[in-house]
């Protein structure tokens, strides 16, 4: 059985699986690539994780995630930058362990407003400054920092970078080989400026990752984990995929779905469902 050749299973879709179980489920579903998360990698240690990835024969499409660097100057910011530098090294190692075609991409989520802080513009500036502080490290490691705009529903508590245009405003201050953006349909599907911004990202060769999840209603009690597999919701995924293709992106396409219904299911079953949903509804070309 073989899935769409550009499909990558982001590990968050099978959140409770160990790294080995996630890799096995991905392969069993005929999927050729995987998007990794730092926590399950840390559970086995980086060296062992790289060995497992190499054994799997899978491509690595990204590592989630760095970022969370909106703290004001001080110990919190220093610690966040140090953590991101470790994440950069992990990204390089895991991509090197993956099959040819792996992408040394570190997904960055900016983080929210520090407690009690209402200066959203200030937090956004600090996020930009943090990207600047990490760009040389990324370039030296051959890693692309991929700034992920988060849906505005998360602006207060998770990600102050809210639109693709805003992410590009930051990324374009640095070389394209060091800083790009993530286009995640869940976060950007609503944006009236999306066609223009995806085209802009393509012109600058800034699309470092393309992720799919669908917007389902009614939203569950926790909006963070209310996502759906492609085809289950309201987002025009095929339309967005056409924009991303037209912008020149030819890399792997991750399905990253935060949803309890998937997390509670068997990872192999979720991987198979993901492959079927992707084939039916992603609109991604082979």
């Amino acid at each position: 059985m073989s899935a769409h050749p550009r499909l990558s299973l982001n590990q968050a879709t099978v959140k409770h699986a160990s790294l080995l179980d996630a890799l096995d489920a991905t392969r069993a579903a005929g999927i050729g690539a995987v998007g990794l998360w730092r926590e399950p990698v840390a559970d086995v240690g980086l060296e062992k994780a790289c060995a497992l990835v190499a054994d799997s024969g899978l491509r690595v499409s990204s590592l989630c995630r760095g970022g969370f660097f909106t703290a004001p100057p001080g110990p919190g910011r220093t610690a966040a930058l140090a953590e991101n530098r470790r994440a950069i090294e992990e990204t390089a190692a895991l991509a090197a362990a993956g099959a040819p075609g792996s992408a040394p991409v570190l997904v960055l989520v900016a983080g929210g407003l520090p407690g009690g802080d209402r200066d959203l513009a200030g937090a956004r500036e600090r996020a930009r400054d943090a990207v600047g502080a990490l760009a040389d490290d990324a370039r030296a490691a051959g890693v692309v920092l991929a700034i992920e705009p988060m849906h505005p529903v998360f602006a207060a508590d998770r990600g102050v970078v809210s639109t693709l245009g805003q992410a590009l405003d930051v990324a374009e201050q640095f070389p394209a080989e060091a800083v790009g953006v993530v286009v995640d349909t869940y976060h950007v599907w609503w944006d009236p400026d999306l066609p223009a911004q995806v085209a802009r990202a393509g012109r600058g060769r800034r699309i470092a990752s393309y992720q799919l999840a669908d917007w389902v209603t009614p939203l569950g009690p926790d909006v963070l984990v209310s996502r759906g597999l492609p085809g289950d919701g309201h987002a025009d995924l095929a339309g967005i995929s056409a924009l991303v293709e037209a912008a020149g992106y030819r890399g792997d396409v991750e399905v990253e779905v935060f949803a309890h219904a998937l997390w509670d299911a068997d990872p192999a079953d979720v991987a198979a469902r993901t492959a079927a949903a992707f084939a039916a509804s992603s609109g991604v070309r082979r």
Copy 2:
């Protein structure tokens, strides 16, 4: 006791109160204006509602709400337009019944995607066309249609107009005396383009209504009713008020908070708390 002279209590903040109880609670708190909703007006009938408003001595700052006109051509769209024409007449009558300084403003919420429809751009076009179909009726009645951009979290199921810029793109196709926009802090606080768009709205004299609610976290199980009184959340209300003032808006400022904790409380108490929160955290000039 007298509240801030520009404060208006939007009736949604005391949702379960009758029109008379809402008017009484507003006056008892020393608040000089009220934002009305169609449902409690309909509960007593328009004529009686106008008499109650006239008796109250309050200004009317807006009527919520028209809109919900994204249906494709057919009976659904025809019915929606007819409903909006009734709402225009109600707006004119209620504003005429209010104290001097009342504003004949009808708040429009576009509505979401029709069931099974993923063509967000198409729904947005139909919303624009519906505004166009109503603009002459509004002008003839002396009413301003105020397009309210809704937070993108509601793009699928409630309002396909997601940003102030997008609302202005529509409004600017029609005369300013007939079509304007609502700036509601809850819906737009996250927007990196907000300063530019508020200034643009001011230049065109398009700000027909300014509404305050705060963004609180964690979001409750229903994001629609997870709002907070000014000062209870993360939005920089004083900063946004400064933008709106600088843009030339001098009208009443509504506090419109959808929250079970307020709806379950005594309306007079809620009105008093609203006045206190507004005085402390709105940043609105006297």
